[in-house]
Structure formats: C-alpha cells, structure tokens
C-alpha cells in the first residue's frame, strides 16, 4: 500500500499524464476539424462537381441524316422508318410470364428470344431497354395498338434505315452509308467535343457514316450533331431518372443538281454496258447526270446483303463497284481535236483557211514512221472545219507536229486534263496529262516528237475520266469560260475559269461550234447517224479509243474477236445550239464507235435534260 505523501504524488502524476494524453487528443481533433473544414469549405467546389459527376451519366442520342434531293425536289435518299418492339426489363417482374402473354399478340422468333432472356436481368439491373422484335409488320403494329395497354412496360419505337429510292441509278453518285470504324467514330465525336459513350440509336444499324459518293463528300453536312440525355445514376450505373435532354441536331438536307428522269434514261440507254455518262449544267457547273454502269444496289450495301451476292458483285468481271465516271481513265481519242484546233488558232499555226492534203496517213520526218488515219486513202484536201467533221487524223498529226509540246500541254490543262475538275466528287482520279518530265521519271525515256504527234489525236499517254471529258465539253460549249463541277443545285458562283487565250475571237468559237454541229449535221460527219435522234441542233465530237494498234481492217477483225480488245466508244456533246445549256460526255468500253454507239446515249440525255 502507498502512503499519503505518495498518494499526493501519484495524484499529481496522474493528472499531468491525463492532461498530456488529452492534449494529444486535442491536437488530433483540431487537425481533424481543420481537415474537414478544408474539404467542406476550401475544396467545396471541386467536391461538389465530383459528387455531381458521380451521379450523372450522359448518353448520346444519334441524329438522323439529312435527306438527299434531286434538282426538282424529288427524294433520292431517304430515312425509312421501321418499327421495333421494345421492352423495359426493370419494370417486368416475371419475364417468362410476360413473354408468354405477349407472344399471344406478336410472334417472337426464337433466336431473339434467347438473346432477350439471356440479357434480361442485366438490362433490368441497369434499367436499360431491350429490343424484343425488330421490323414489326403493319398487322403486328395494329395488334399491339389494340392490346398493348396490357403491357405498359413494352412500347413500339421507330428506328430508321438509310434508303436510296433509286438504288441502282445513283449507287455511285450518292454512294452509300456503312458502319463506322472506331477511328472514324472518335474523329466524329471529337469534332463535336464528345467522347465515346453509350448511345441511343436512331438507326437500326447503329452508327453510320457516308462511305462513298455524295454521302461521303457531304458526310459532315448530312450527319448532324449528337444530342445528349443526362440521367441520374446510382453507384452501380443504373439509370434512375432523366435529368436533362439536349435533342440531337439532325443533318441538313442536301439539294443536289442531279436529275432523276435523265439519270433513268441514261441508265436505260447504257443497258448495263460498261461505261459512264456525265452531264453538266453549263450555267452553274452543276452535275445533272452522273452514271457509271454496270451498277449495284446502294441499299443492299448499306442495309445488308448476303455474302454470296456480295462476293458475286466483288468478283464480277464488269466491276460494278468501280466508279468509271470519276475513276475510269480513257484516252480522249478524237474528242481532243477541238482543243488541238483551238491551240493551232491561238498560236497562229493555222487559220480557218489553212489546208493540207490528207493521204490517209502522216509521216514523221525524223524517222519516217507512219501515223495512220481511220480512213484508207484519206480525206483529200482538208481545212480545220473539214478535219473536225470527218475527224482527219493527218490534219491534227501535222498540226501537233508543228506545236511546242510544253505550250500544248499547258493549253490542254486549261480544259481540265490532268486537273481536279470537281469540287465535291468522291475520290476523283485526275487522269494523266503527260509531259517530258513525267515520261522521263516514269518510263525512263525521253519525249519523242511522235509523242506530241499522238497527243494531237488524243492517243498515247494522255488519259482523262468521263468527268474530265464532261468538263472539257462544257469549256468548249461556254467558249472558254467554265466553273468547276459540283453536285450542288445552286452550283458555285466562284471558281469560274477563263481560258487564257490570246488570239481566239468569238467568231472563232462560233466557227468551232459550227464544225462540231457539222459532226452530226454534215452528210460526211462522223456522227451523222445521230441526225434522226436529236430534237435540236447538237454540237459533238466523237472518238474511238484504239486499245490494240492494228495496221489494217482485217487485223482489227481478228483482234475484235476478244471483246476486251475492241475500241472504246467516246463522245462529247452539247446543245441545244446555238445557245447550249448542257454538255455531256459518254464513254462505252469496247463500244467500238463513238458516233453510233456512244452518240445515241449522249443525244438521249441531252433531249431529256432540255425537255425538263
């Protein structure tokens, strides 16, 4: 036992020690209060945001793509609704019973039913919807309208699919839409300051993006902007209630310059032959007809096609996916002659009175090599006018022979050869306007005089797309002035090109036009067979692209046994003359005769366009 004095010491010691421990706790509590004060007062804003972020979930709402119209306001590409039966699993207590009951009204196929039952509890936990049946028939919709009141947790919702009303006519022009790759999706969302999150789809196919044609070129305009639904969620991610809805901004409609009727006529005229037709409104540079054949169905590519049919299209020797109008390269052949003639006038190498005697061939003085015309024995005495009408090669061989190659190339580039002529075409090829430097770099050969001579009749390395040929035709029709081509109805007021000529007068242009009218009207014209088809005067220049070089008609008869060796048929035309409104180019692969094979297509297109 301890005595009194010791008890006093003990009491003092106890008190001081208790105070020490309490002081220690005092400090701890002050520190705790300070921390709490920091959290709740200094950092309040950050934590308030964090709490808000925790409980909100944003879901994207897909916009609907714009509609594509033709120049008369008829719909080419539309969004077609389909009706899906949607259920809310979180509101359904007994799924088996529910499905049994609803099956009495609407037949549900087994595959989808398995999927629904498998995902039922998951979707219920997170309060998400499930598609019970896609593409309801009118009858099913009607049945559900009558008896749907029994199923408050089911409803019918609209989902769209992209639908081309003329899937074969415009497969290349409007192109098609398809699923989006992850990179594309990130780009699209980035451009709208969004990130990749759950999305409420308006399209049954999910995210869509223009893959080709106008759908691709104008994707940004057609696409629209995603909206947002903002939900309150709990920690598990279950949607509790909708807090806010920012509606999506649907895509802009696109009013194109395309003409459905003419497109149909061009399509019928082409009759599945390999080739392309491009027609241009001369006032605005707007493309009114844009056809590549054979074609495929844009809808099948967008909305589903069997692997077998797809493979058949892919392996088809006629290459239906290939867009000949903007990617097919063809030698312009004799259609180049008006440009060469203009070059001769501009450089004063010739005038309208200048003439030569055409023996049917041209001999290159340097090496005595012979360049033949299409007619044995030649055309006799020919001036520029007659050379155009009868398509004398000899005249243009000798004119090209006298030309400076660089000046000539520069002159041709102003007609769109080797140039980008369309503002909004999908992935256009620029053809080839060769020059000495190009030949050296690519073929390791210097430029021969013969190359220039060949260029005079549009053969050799020179090649152009039907799109470029249409542009070229419109430059000729507009007497050297032309706007770049576009698919937009209003065309483009800027971008007008003025051919940089020094010595060509209006009168020269008029005489050139009249020579081109002569191609059809003159009894010796190369396209005189078109006289009966046309409704008005048309200026034209036909061409025949030689694929295999032959010396005699008999040789050609042998090689033409193989269809792929036959000459391509080309024509450029514009009308009605003397005040042309439209220019057109037609290429028919292995069609053999520009005037009589490609010509009727061009005339039919012009007739249709002018009639409207």
């Amino acid at each position: 036992m301890i005595d009194l004095e010791e008890r006093f010491i003990e009491k003092k010691s106890f008190f001081s020690r208790l105070v020490i421990v309490y002081l220690f706790f005092g400090f701890l509590f002050i520190f705790f209060l300070y921390t709490t004060y920091s959290l709740q007062v200094y950092e309040y804003d950050d934590y308030e945001v964090a709490a808000l972020k925790n409980k909100t979930k944003e879901v994207l709402v897909q916009p609907v793509r714009g509609i594509i119209y033709d120049r008369s306001g008829n719909i080419i590409v539309n969004n077609v609704p389909s009706y899906d039966l949607i259920i809310k699993p979180s509101k359904i207590k007994n799924p088996d019973n529910f499905i049994f009951e609803i099956s009495k009204i609407i037949d549900i196929d087994k595959d989808n039913l398995d999927y629904v039952l498998e995902n039922f509890s998951l979707k219920a936990n997170y309060n998400r919807e499930l598609i019970l049946k896609r593409n309801l028939s009118q009858e099913e919709i009607a049945k559900f309208e009558v008896r749907g009141y029994k199923f408050p947790s089911a409803f019918i919702d609209v989902r769209y699919s992209r639908h081309n009303n003329y899937p074969k006519l415009f497969s290349h022009a409007t192109g098609y839409v398809g699923g989006v790759s992850n990179d594309e999706l990130v780009d699209i969302l980035d451009s709208q300051s969004l990130s990749q999150i759950e999305t409420i789809f308006k399209y049954s196919n999910g995210y869509q993006i223009g893959k080709t044609g106008i759908e691709k070129s104008y994707d940004k305009k057609l696409r629209g902007k995603f909206g947002k639904k903002i939900y309150e969620v709990d920690a598990s991610g279950k949607l509790l209630k909708e807090v806010d809805f920012i509606p999506p901004l649907d895509g802009d409609n696109l009013y194109t310059s395309l003409d459905i009727n003419t497109q149909q006529i061009a399509y019928d005229q082409m009759n599945n032959r390999r080739g392309a037709v491009v027609a241009v409104d001369l006032d605005s540079g707007a493309i009114v007809t844009y056809l590549s054949t054979p074609s495929f169905s844009a809808n099948e590519i967008s909305n589903g096609i069997s692997k077998k049919s797809f493979d058949a299209l892919l392996n088809d020797n006629n290459k239906p996916f290939f867009d000949r109008a903007s990617q097919g390269r063809y030698s312009p052949a004799s259609t180049i002659k008006p440009a060469i003639g203009l070059f001769g006038l501009d450089t004063k190498l010739i005038d309208w009175d200048f003439s030569i005697t055409d023996p049917g061939y041209f001999v290159l003085p340097e090496d005595q090599r012979i360049y033949r015309g299409w007619k044995e024995g030649g055309h006799g005495k020919v001036n520029l006018n007659k050379a155009m009408v009868v398509s004398s090669n000899t005249f243009f061989f000798s004119l090209a022979y006298k030309s400076d190659v660089n000046e000539l190339i520069n002159f041709l580039s102003n007609f769109g050869f080797g140039e980008k002529v369309c503002l909004d075409c999908f992935n256009p090829d620029q053809g080839l306007l060769p020059n000495p430097e190009w030949k050296m770099n690519n073929l390791n050969f210097g430029w021969f005089k013969g190359d220039t001579v060949n260029m005079g009749v549009g053969q050799g390395y020179l090649s152009a797309t039907p799109l470029q040929l249409a542009y070229y035709a419109s430059v000729l029709a507009n007497m050297g002035k032309q706007k770049k081509l576009t698919f937009i109805k209003k065309g483009n007021s800027n971008n007008e090109m003025d051919l940089p000529v020094k010595n060509i007068s209006n009168l020269d242009w008029k005489r050139l036009h009249s020579s081109m009218i002569g191609v059809i009207e003159s009894p010796i014209g190369t396209a005189k067979r078109l006289q009966e088809l046309k409704n008005f005067k048309v200026a034209a220049k036909s061409g025949t692209v030689e694929l295999v070089s032959t010396q005699t008609k008999e040789d050609y008869e042998i090689i033409r046994q193989n269809e792929g060796n036959r000459d391509h048929a080309i024509i450029i035309a514009f009308g009605p003359m003397p005040n042309p409104k439209y220019a057109v180019s037609v290429v028919i692969e292995n069609g053999e005769s520009g005037g009589s094979v490609a010509g009727p297509v061009a005339i039919a297109v012009l007739n249709s366009l002018v009639k409207e």
């Binding site: 106890f14 208790l18 209060l33 308030e48």
Partner: protein, 366 residues
Amino acid sequence: MKKKLVFKNFSIYFDQYLFISITLLSVMGLFFLYSASQGDLNTIIKQSIFVGLGLVLMFALSQPDPDFYKLFSGLFILIAFTLLIATMIFGKEINGAKRWLNLGFFSLQTSEIIKIALPIFLASYLYNKPLPISLKHTFITLFLIILTFYLVYSQPDLGTGLVVFMAGIYILFLAGLSWRFILASFGLIILSLPFLWNNFLQPFQRQRILTFIDPSQDPFGSSWNITQSKIAIGSGGMSGKGYQEGSQAHLNFLPEAETDFIFAVIAEEFGFIGVCLLISIFIFILIRCIYLAFNARDRFCRLTIGGLSLVFASTLFINLGMVVGILPVVGMPMPFISKGGSSLLSFYIAFGIIISMATHKKLMQK
C-alpha cells in the same frame, strides 16, 4: 453534477450531464442512421432496441460500488478471454474474419467486451503499485496487453486490436509508467518497425497503409472508399445538402454508409455546421470525463475513468480520421452513431462503469 439520490433504503447513482449528452447522441444517431440506411425501418427498430437496452444497462451498471468492479475484474477478464477463445473456435466467419459469437438472438462481437474488461483489470492490478511502476509489473502488464492484442488481431481485427492495445497502454501510462521505460520502448519500436511490417501485417493491410500514403496508387481499389467518402464530405459544404438529400449516400456511392462511414453521410447532409455541433457533444462528454476523473474517490476509479474515456476518444478519433482520410482505413464504428449492437452496448457499459466510478464516494469520507 454527479448525484447521489438517497431514498429510504437505497441510493441511486447518476450523472445527468453524461446521461443527457449520451441519450442525445443516441437519438441523433438513430436519426442519422435512418437516412444512412435509406429509410430502412428494420435497421432503425433493431438499433432502437439496442439504444434502449444500452441506456438501461448504463444506468444499471452505474449502481454497484467501484469495489464490486475491482473485486470481480479478474472474473470479468476471464469471461472476456473465454469469449474471445470461444470466438476463435465457434465464431461465425464473415468475409474471412471470425469476430462474432452467435448467441441465438444476437451476434456478439467479443472484442468489444475485452476492450472494457482489460483496462478495468489493469487498473485493479496497478492501483496499489508504488510509483514509478516497477519493471516486473510493467512487463506483466505488457504481456497481458500484447496477449489480448494478439487474440483480437488474429481474428483478424486490426482496428479493435489497436484500440485494445491502446486501452492497456493508457492505463499503464496513467498509472505511472517510468519515463525512462517509455523513451527506451519508443526507440525499440522504431527499430523494429520493418520487422513488424514484414511479419505481422496481412498483405491487404500493408496495401491499405500504402494507398493511404499514396492514394494515386489505385484509385478504384482500396482507396475507392476514401475517395467517395471525401467527395461526400466535401460536397456537403458549409450547411449540407439537407436531411436524406445526400446523393453520395443515397445513390450508394458511399460504402459502409450505415457503419464505418456514417460520419460522411452526416457531413454530406448537414455540412460543416452540423459536423461542429455533433463533435461538440463528443467533446463535452470527454471534458466531463476529465472532470470526473479529477474528482474520483481513489486511484482505481481515476485510472478506470481515464482509461475508458480514452478508449472512447481513440475509437472516435480513429473513425473520424479514417473517414476524412487522415488515417488508413481500418474498420472502426463511430461510437453511439454507427449501426451495430456490440459496439453500441460496449460504450453504454463503459459509461455505466465511468458513472459508477465517479459517483460513489468512500464510506469513510462521510
């Protein structure tokens, strides 16, 4: 004032300050728990029964003379040890831990009993030892403390184990542990920290301490709780979001909202003002305990009041420190507020004993 109401045949021992403040805390606790449990009446009814039972128990345990506790402290600790060992053998295993003993009507967390029995026993052992406490008594005491700690720790329950350990150390310190010994053991503890780290901590406990030191190590692992707790507290601001309006608690972002993290719910819904009001009640209770300790009738009573009140203070601080992120996450309820019968009852028992120690005067002083 501590009171001794004298009736014809018997006296009633009662401290109105502690009784009122503890009753107030208990009622507030039920009110907070209603929100934290998202209006689960079942939880509230169960908790109310414990509160009622606890208040009666506290009153009842205030009545015996401190000598009763002194006399039977050995028996108490024996019972407590028996319960601990029984838990090790027959305990209910929940989430890999054996902490509960099923008593049929109620699962008892036996470490809550030893938390009270140990300081009382140590006080009864040390109250008559001369100052400073001799090495022999120091080591006997330390042995007992470490043995108890180890039994609780191996359940495993590090949090309660630490409180039990601290409870013993408080008594030893208050009883007059020599300063030289204190300095020497501090040195030893610091030197042996790496050894303890490697051999005594479970990997998940090490991970908790590591993420406490550097929370960026795993934002969605063990520090997810603490991140959500901080968001709840911080977003409460000065005046709170309002009763039952806390999104963190009500949308289930806050884990363990009814038990360990109930303070975060309170802070979210009542803001810093609410926090200060609540904490001031706790501080009032602690200050009242110092006063009672200073005026206790003898060394045994002083030690017991001091020790038990510090157990209360430690539990509270470990809970608060964990919830605001200044201490690592160890499971620790908030006294009188968190859901859970054992913890609740243990503090009513502790305060019943404190009141007994404070209100009984020595017969000879009459």
